[in-house]
């Protein structure tokens, strides 16, 4: 029961992470959506699988992979953001509303 709930929760996070990656306007906002939702979805799915398996050889290995993903994904995201910023990718701003400016 708890295992299926955690699996569905992880799928939910993954789906909204992909929606954010497809819809957001900028590399930095896309990195935000990708990393947060990706890591949360992976954690939820792996904990669901651990609870379903109980204590076995599989669950120990899943736990190791979980710790590894938890360490490496933020590092990769940070390095991509740093490289994008240093090579001069402009952050997205809300476009100016010319009509409202003229009305004043």
């Amino acid at each position: 029961m708890i295992a299926s709930f955690l699996l569905l929760l992880g799928l939910f996070f993954m789906i909204f992470g992909v929606v954010g990656v497809l819809k957001f306007p900028d590399i930095y906002t896309r990195l935000q959506a990708s990393t947060k939702c990706g890591v949360t979805g992976v954690i939820s799915i792996f904990f669901g699988l651990i609870i379903q398996q109980g204590f076995s050889a599989f669950s120990v290995r899943i736990f190791f992979i979980l710790v590894f993903v938890l360490i490496t994904t933020p590092v990769a995201s940070h390095i991509i953001a740093q490289a994008a910023y240093e090579s001069g990718v402009e952050p997205w701003r809300k476009p100016l509303d010319n009509f409202r400016e003229k009305k004043r």
């Binding site: 799928l11 990195l31 990708s34 699988l49 379903q52 590092v75 990718v89």
Partner: protein, 92 residues
């Protein structure tokens, strides 16, 4: 017994939906405006593929697929870092 069947079906469904999501984020890899968008898409796809490999390992009860998943995560991490360093060095 019914709950076991439900959980197995849920495992298959999770793997299939994750594969579909990986195909959706392939859009960012193909049409990404900058090369960093493509890198982000590759990173997301590799994390999804890691989860899919773990699910298949549990479904087929093969212990060696777990090691495959761990090595896949390690290699994708190293690849992303090497590509980011390479792109940054090309700009300077």
């Amino acid at each position: 017994m019914a709950e076991e069947d439900f959980l197995l079906n849920l495992l298959w469904m999770t793997a299939l939906i994750l594969a579909a999501l990986a195909f959706l984020s392939l859009y960012r890899v193909i049409f990404g405006p900058t090369s960093y968008d493509r890198l982000l898409g590759v990173n997301l796809i590799s994390s999804m593929v890691t989860v899919i490999i773990v699910i298949l390992a549990i479904r087929f009860q093969r212990r060696i697929y777990m090691d495959v998943a761990l090595v896949y995560a390690l290699l994708s991490f190293i690849g992303v870092i090497a590509l980011a360093k390479y792109l940054r060095a090309g700009i300077r």
